[in-house]
Amino acid sequence: METALDQDLELSDQALLVLYCNGDQQAAALLTQRLAPRLFSFCIRLLGDRSEAEDVVQEAMLRLWRMAPDWQQGEAKLSTWVFRVASNLCTDRLRKRGDIGLDQIEEPTDERPDAEVLLMQADRKSALDLALANLPERQRQAVILRHIEGLSNPEIGEILGINVEAVESLTARGKRGLVAALSHKKEELGL
């Protein structure tokens, strides 16, 4: 939902955080609408579990609210900061449980209308999710952030704590891994 404040002023995330600190409750709602869906999309792809992804997003946003009074203007992009927090939280969870099991990714069902079309789309999505799940964790994060969330290499570098060259290397290796994994699935998926 785009509010008058958002539409008219097109405030930056940082400006909204300052308004939040000034007691503006609408600013908190706008920041949540901007950041939470992107974080959730990223986390659910990394974790493969809706409940865990929601917990991570809530925790990352909670840390944002706590940090708000101490935010230093011009240091980093707010979205990059909160993605870094979410990335670290996801990493902690993945390390605690080992890794994503392939059986945790939902299988497509054929109980909905246009089941054939949905099944094919779901197959393609599942194929990508499975291939992503088989990548090493850092490659998986870099590929998701670059090619699905659409972040720039410098932003990804800040999130993962590495330089741009390392990001390029991770995404290139990740893409090669995905191509290799998906080419084996080609016939199996009937694509």
């Binding site: 600190c21 007691g23 997003v57 946003m61 999505k125 990508l128 998906l182």
Partner: protein, 122 residues
Amino acid sequence: MTDQNDKAAPGSEAELDALFAEARAQTTAPSEKLMARILEDAHRLQPSAQTLPGTVPPIWSRIHGALGGWPIIGGLTATVMVGIYIGFSDPTLVQLQGLVDEDVEISDFFASDTLFFEEGTS
């Protein structure tokens, strides 16, 4: 399935890019409950304006804080007002008749002090 999907079978980087585009279009939205929980946290932790980073509160705000708040300032104001009233009030209102003798003798208890003043003027 669309033609685009038919063309986008996995096996090359270009086809992989098509899969990424589909994935971007199929994002899973967070639940309303999650959004509500996040906003609840935001409102609970919302700081007051005085804690903004890099801002200096106005001078009156700092004086107010240094003195200890409105109760102290109220007491100080009352004291000042009483002092001003006493200073400007008519002293003849104080009736001394009958309490002291009407003949008043003024004595110079510090007559020697005038020597210093006289020396200073010479």
